[in-house]
């Protein structure tokens, strides 16, 4: 009788412990996902300023600038739409367009010397890094969350307790972000 009680107590304690751990991780996953959103929003806010301040110097790069503006508009509307696959694709295109802009701006010594452009470039690099680190953290947390659900013996209970594996943030196979940005240096 006592043995049975102890066994039940230990088992119950283990279930509670596991459940609470998974709940904590699930909230972390949600929070980490929101963090990516925050950074994407920051990037959207930053781009108009950037385009405004480089457009005088980079008038020969009209096409590049326009692509950035279009990609931003598409990303913003995808963000409002809320379809994750769509967001991934559009943000990927924006990342690529921005990468191209940064690479090309290296060709303009006047831009590099300009204080406010330098500041904006640093901000842009910062935001791009923030986005990739936020994604990295999100993927780390999701991996931990999924692993904790899949290990034995939790795997027998996780679904019963209402947990489902979360999706990693990854690029679609045909994402433009997978291509290296091509920079034409013959101006």
């Amino acid at each position: 009788m006592t043995v049975l009680a102890i066994v039940l107590l230990v088992l119950g304690g283990w279930v509670v412990f596991t459940f609470n751990g998974l709940v904590k991780l699930r909230n972390q996953v949600t929070n980490a996902f929101r963090q990516i959103d925050v950074q994407l929003k920051r990037r959207h806010d930053l781009i108009p300023n950037l385009v405004e301040s480089v457009k005088g110097e980079m008038k020969f790069e009209k096409e590049t600038l326009e692509r950035v503006i279009q990609a931003r508009a598409a990303a913003v509307s995808a963000g409002q739409g809320g379809n994750t696959g769509d967001i991934l694709a559009k943000e990927g295109m924006l990342t690529q367009a921005l990468g191209r802009l940064i690479a090309i701006s290296e060709n303009y010594p006047n831009l590099k010397a300009n204080e406010s452009v330098k500041k904006l470039m640093e901000e842009l690099t910062h935001t791009e890094n923030q986005i990739s680190f936020a994604r990295q953290f999100y993927n780390d947390v999701v991996t931990k969350f999924n692993t904790d659900q899949q290990v034995f013996p939790t795997n027998m209970f996780a679904a019963m307790l209402g947990f489902a594996p979360a999706a990693l943030w990854e690029l679609p196979a045909d994402s433009p972000e997978r291509e290296n940005p091509k920079v034409n240096l013959t101006v």
């Binding site: 640093e122 890094n129 680190f133």
Partner: protein, 354 residues
């Protein structure tokens, strides 16, 4: 070994050395209480008739079950360590004359951004960024927990490192915060203090008459005392000899163990930094720049050496690969750190430099 294996290995090493340290402390402390106090948990109790006519187990004079010396020295040592933990961060910042990084300056703005990036990468609240007015290349972290932590870098570091390298250094410091190294080193400082106290107690007891008759007065007249000696006088003598040797070497030994842990934590912070930035080669090139600037960081006190990216003394001890470096340095030799990072970069499959 890849990044995660190195981290696991470092954690195991830390736990092992910490266990060794605790064992050393317990041996010294309990030995002290056994030889000089009246602590003897295994003494055979005496059986006597009590008033009601039953046999009753008594431990009359056989020794108390409480090792007072061990407990007192541990309490004092830990008390001092906790005090330094609570006041440490403020004192460290004041002693280095560090000031808050301001976003008006271009380089410091970059530092603030990088600190925010590393906070995102580690999922912790962003530490406050400070700048130390010193032209040497160094950085340190301090703070009792991630939410009130501080990362400080020298002006020289801001000056000489590019964005990527600065990111790697900040990631290293962020890892010290994330791994709670400040707390670990405080526990170690407490243990070192306690061992030093014990060794001091014992030294005084040697000098002022050895085994005081007071502590043996009860036990020598009772059968409990003879029971203890009956446990094997020769064995006790051998233990006493080992204990005396250890207590003489104790201050040195405890320091060596603490340094061994400190070096493991540096390796761990390097590996965790590589995990945060996914760019071990950034830290490699930062370490190579820091290594070339061998002058000491005069603004940073030696007391925070274990939280720095490199030993602020700038002594060449970290350049050596020999015995001294393996025993007494706070940081592993640069050569070994760089090698470990290069192995990680190789393991990561694509040794990218971007």
């Amino acid at each position: 070994m890849n990044i995660f294996e190195q981290q696991a290995h470092n954690r195991r090493m830390t736990a092992g050395i910490l266990a060794l340290f605790v064992a050393l402390f317990l041996f010294l402390g309990l030995g002290f209480d056994y030889f000089y106090g009246s602590f003897n948990p295994v003494a055979a109790p005496t059986f006597e008739y009590n008033d009601t006519g039953y046999y009753e187990a008594r431990r009359a004079g056989a020794g108390s079950k409480i090792p007072f010396g061990t407990i007192i020295s541990l309490l004092i040592g830990m008390g001092m360590a906790v005090n330094s933990l609570l006041n440490g961060p403020r004192m460290v910042l004041r002693s280095t004359m560090a000031r808050r990084a301001v976003s008006a300056s271009e380089k410091e703005r970059q530092l603030l951004n990088i600190v925010a990036e590393m906070a995102t990468a580690s999922g912790l609240p962003a530490p406050t960024a400070y700048v130390v007015p010193d032209s040497d290349l160094n950085a340190f972290a301090t703070g009792t927990n991630p939410s009130n932590s501080v990362i400080a870098v020298t002006e020289g570091l801001l000056e000489h490192l590019n964005r990527e390298e600065l990111q790697a250094v900040v990631a290293h410091e962020m890892s010290h915060i994330r791994n709670y190294d400040m707390r670990l080193m405080t526990v170690l400082a407490g243990l070192i203090g306690a061992v030093a106290l014990l060794s001091d107690f014992a030294g005084r007891t040697f000098r002022y008459g050895g085994r005081r008759s007071g502590s043996f007065g009860g036990s020598s007249s009772s059968s409990g005392g003879s029971g203890r000696k009956g446990g094997g006088g020769a064995v006790v003598l051998v233990f006493f000899a080992i204990w005396v040797v250890l207590i003489i070497l104790a201050p040195l030994l405890s320091r060596m163990l603490a340094m061994a842990i400190s070096r493991q934590r540096e390796f761990l912070a390097d590996a965790s930094a590589a995990e945060l930035t996914r760019n071990p080669l950034g830290l490699v090139s930062a370490l190579e720049k820091i290594r070339r600037a061998v002058m000491p960081t005069s603004a940073i006190n030696n007391g925070v050496a274990h939280m720095c990216i490199t030993d602020p003394r700038g002594s060449l001890i970290e350049e050596k690969l020999g015995f001294t470096a393996d025993v007494l340095a706070t940081h592993p030799p640069m050569e070994k750190r760089i090698l470990a990072l290069k192995v990680m970069a190789y393991q990561a499959g694509n040794p990218q430099s971007a």
